[in-house]
Symmetry: C2
């Protein structure tokens, strides 16, 4: 019965189909559906109903082409499997998604050729902006200054100070870890962390040692134990520490993974946690932190918030409001059983 007003087979309905079905012109149909006020209520109704009947879905490509903005952004990451991209992406999607922005996700796999290729593709698709998520906190090379769209670097800052970067403040995070432990009455604090070639390891260590200095405390174990970012190192380093017969009453672990290893080693020595030794990690990686014995206190780097902030800064930049430089985000301690007795 509605046969003759249906669009050609296979094609989805166009605005022109809707206009024809409603008996109005293209222009009027457009105005009716977009809520412009130059159309009578009765006419608008007719158009809207025709659109529904035809399951009309406006072609965003055509619209973007005309508007000069696509309502899309590119998210360029280098470690999808890693721990960092995902929450940041969630935060960004969150900040964008409420509205009308869609996100292109690209993983460069750490390959700068592939990254360049992705950037080209995204620019060709006329994204309105780019968020570049690093895989570590070490500064990364800039995509360049004249990219036709604004770029925000998240997690890993750009080497170019003229770019907009949002990072977590790892020095501050180290400080918070120590202050939390000191607040819990600990004074003999050691620090076991990851690979010293990572800025994250060095920054957190600086935060830890500076804060101990400031409070007039010695770093237990004599020096920061740098190693690698995994459980075996956590176990090994903890054993090392205990074998030195140090009077350690708290350990700052450079990551939740390391912390898990530390917990295991302490467990093996029949030490009570937190009564004998308190342990705190970084990342607040729920799967690791909430399943340990006891649950692990951890410094939460608020990566989702980082993502949201990056999205927000990108919006601002798209409106021409660019604030170059590195912006840092404060972390917070999530307290669990490994630093406070469950009573």
């Amino acid at each position: 019965m509605t046969g003759e007003e249906a669009p050609a087979r296979g094609r989805s309905a166009t605005l022109s189909d809707v206009a024809k079905a409603a008996g109005v012109s293209l222009a009027t149909a457009s105005k009716a559906l977009n809520g412009k006020d130059q159309v009578r209520a009765e006419t608008r109704d007719r158009v809207v109903r025709a659109a529904e009947r035809l399951a009309f879905s406006p072609n965003a490509l055509a619209r973007s082409l005309l508007a000069g903005r696509s309502g899309t952004v590119g998210l360029l990451t280098s470690d999808l499997e890693g721990r960092f991209s995902i929450p940041i992406m969630m935060g960004a999607e969150d900040a964008f998604g409420a509205g009308r922005v869609s996100v292109f996700l690209c993983d460069a796999r750490g390959d700068s050729i592939r990254e360049q290729h992705h950037v080209q593709a995204l620019l060709s698709r006329r994204v309105d902006g780019l968020i570049v998520v690093g895989s570590s906190t070490d500064p990364r090379s800039s995509l360049g200054r004249n990219l036709s769209v604004p770029v925000v670097y998240a997690y890993a800052p750009s080497e170019d100070p003229a770019d907009v970067s949002i990072v977590t403040d790892n020095v501050d995070a180290g400080r918070r870890a120590v202050e939390h432990l000191v607040g819990a009455g600990r004074t003999r604090i050691a620090h076991i962390t990851g690979d010293a070639s990572y800025a994250a390891a060095r920054d957190r260590a600086k935060g830890v040692t500076d804060t101990l200095d400031r409070l007039g405390l010695q770093l237990a174990g004599g020096s920061v134990l740098f190693g690698s970012w995994n459980e075996p190192w956590g176990r090994g380093a903890a054993r090392l520490l205990l074998d030195r017969d140090e009077q350690v009453d708290a350990i700052v672990a450079g990551s939740d993974q390391i912390a898990r290893g530390v917990l295991d080693a302490l467990h093996d020595r029949q030490l009570r946690i937190p009564e004998d030794i308190a342990v705190i990690g970084f990342d607040n990686w729920t799967v690791l932190a909430t399943n340990s014995r006891p649950q692990l206190t951890s410094v939460d780097l608020r990566l989702e918030e980082l993502g949201r902030l990056a999205a927000q800064r990108l919006f601002e930049a798209m409106d021409g409001d660019v604030r170059p430089g590195v912006e840092t985000l404060q972390s917070r301690v999530i307290t669990r059983g490994s630093t406070t007795p469950s009573h």
Copy 2:
């Protein structure tokens, strides 16, 4: 010096700018840049150089509008933070990315309203296809049959058998776990797994018990221990099992998380792994499996391969080659120290 051939400020160069700069027509410029053979080599050169000089980037929006295909696909997930979406996404990006397809990533947060909203947005952007990734292996509701673009369901199958679904074969995975253990000489095998309301738990359990039956073996512990998908349950269930004074020599854990809990409990009882009791998990979650003592043998569900396959099926469907129904992917056992002595 090149001032008069530059496009208007702010705008990026269009093909028309390039044509003007090269002193040819729009049509010729297009042909030259797209490798058509109706243009003299010298002319092509002139155009290509002009394009480079102007940093011309072809507008994919206009191109898509004309071609009727956008070269984009939508990836609709419901658990970005979960374990499953990411590898699948990697695989899909992999299969697509080599060519010229970009991926829109959307997270519905388990909310069907939001999902519907995302689908609308993606259709409006004229994606060429959709991949829907579930957050568990339980069947999910279909997006519907008349969606104007092909849809492939990955990990969680669609309830509608007319849809195309790709899933991991969890029954088969359970079988492989048991056969691996039996192959390692074990005969008193128990099964500790997650929440029985999950199809994944039930399917793997079925694979385990069926295979034991077939081999004429009894399930140690009397029955499958259903619980929850985390370490504490793994620890608790393992203790339960040992307290029953069973002669267990192997445990199939329903996930790597549960397996970690099991390992801890066995450790507490001074049992040697794998000499006294072998342990195998599911998921092959590297962070968990490779950092345990000993490293954890695990059934790898090959989620990346699942993603690749989904992308491939989507391609085929885009070419009109649709194969409705549920396709299953076989898993494989990754052998590590928890089932084979380290030497």
